[in-house]
């Protein structure tokens, strides 16, 4: 057994997850971890599967089974050794929608060695005044460095933010 990383994305419709996971199951694969969600009108699947399959063989099987769904599929080998890490902090960033928010903030995090565990973005607010909101779960040993780096990046971008330890009580 080894671990393969599978991605599949296509126009959303019922049956996408069922089809992809049926193929994995029929070929003796075991789903290790997955994230599946709608982005706009696209349904995106990212998953890790423990399997005897070679990447090319699994890709061919998935493409054949999902041809009707029009999914774009990729399969690649992982080293299968790295464990996931637990986030230590939650960073909430929001501001008037403008280009460069994600790049600016994540660049600041990378510069101080903070590891992003999870990131989600959404445009909220009124149509005439869109607000970009981003929630990042990150892992760091150096809260002071992260706080400073994020504060200066957000100031430069003219956006607001809150950095908190995860599970901290908030009042």
């Amino acid at each position: 057994m080894h671990e393969l990383a599978v991605t599949a994305i296509g126009t959303d419709r019922p049956g996408i997850v069922a089809t992809v996971t049926r193929v994995l199951h029929e070929r003796g694969g075991n789903l290790e971890d997955s994230a599946m969600t709608i982005l706009g009108g696209q349904f995106a699947i990212v998953l890790l599967v423990a399997t005897e399959d070679e990447p090319d063989a699994l890709a061919v099987a998935l493409e054949a089974a999902t041809a009707e769904l029009g999914l774009t599929v990729s399969v690649c080998r992982t080293d299968g050794t790295q464990q996931g890490i637990d986030p230590t902090h939650l960073l909430s960033v929001y501001g008037a929608d403008r280009p460069g928010i994600v790049a600016g903030v994540t660049g600041a995090l990378a510069a101080v060695g903070a590891n992003i565990v999870d990131l989600e973005t959404q445009v909220i607010g009124d149509d005439d005044q869109p607000v970009y909101a981003m929630l990042i779960e990150l892992a760091t040993q150096d809260e002071t460095a992260v706080a400073g780096a994020v504060a200066s990046a957000c100031e430069q971008l003219g956006i607001d933010h809150t950095l908190r330890t995860i599970d901290a009580e908030t009042y």
């Binding site: 969600t37 709608i38 986030p87 939650l90 909430s92 929001y94 501001g95 008037a96 999870d118 989600e120 959404q122 909220i124 607010g125 009124d126 005044q129 607000v131 909101a133 929630l135 990042i136 779960e137 607001d160 809150t162 995860i166 599970d167 009580e169 908030t170 009042y171």
Partner: protein, 174 residues
């Protein structure tokens, strides 16, 4: 009767520290009336803080009795100037929305019982013991006076951005 426009983020007044009001005069009573009128005019709205009307003053109006299922033991209409949180106990995660961050809800952890003290529009000191959803609403309004929005209170990534259709206008507060 003066229904005013509710200010939405990124208006800076929502991110600043609101100033103390002190003595209650005609201007303050007018602000109280505007808060109440605007709150009752906004469907689904159970509370409004002065910064949401663009006024950087420590005041809010609140009335959870207008909810479809009014919480038991609620105080009806509350208008307080210079409100202070005297006591907060308990802890509960629940969904909140905000007139100033339209079409967005997230889970926020709040105390379940609070005691808040403030000055009424008549100039009297009032102490209110609130529980449950009313306590949550009090804390939400108090946050507005300190420039804090629900986005600053998000409890965890998994609690935010529920993947469902946006709440319809006026239904942000459950």
């Amino acid at each position: 009767m003066a229904v005013r426009r509710v200010v939405t983020y990124p208006a800076r007044v929502l991110k600043g520290l609101a100033g103390p009001v002190g003595e209650i005069g005609p201007r303050e009573r007018q602000l109280a009336q505007d808060l109440v009128d605007t709150m009752y005019d906004s469907p689904g709205c159970v509370g409004l803080a002065a910064p949401q009307l663009g006024v950087a003053s420590r005041a809010f109006a609140l009335d959870v009795s207008v909810m479809r299922k009014p919480p038991e033991g609620n105080h009806g209409l509350l208008v307080l100037f210079d409100p202070e949180l005297v006591l907060a106990t308990g802890s509960e995660l629940a969904r909140e929305g905000c007139m100033s961050v339209p079409d967005f809800t997230c889970d926020v952890r709040r105390a379940t019982e609070v005691v808040v003290r403030g000055t009424t529009p008549e100039g009297a000191v009032r102490v209110v013991e609130a529980g449950g959803f009313e306590a949550r609403a009090v804390q939400h309004e108090l946050d507005h006076l300190d420039g804090l929005l629900v986005l600053d209170r998000v409890a965890a990534r998994a609690d935010v951005f529920p993947r469902k259709r946006r709440a319809r206008k006026g239904e942000h507060l459950k």
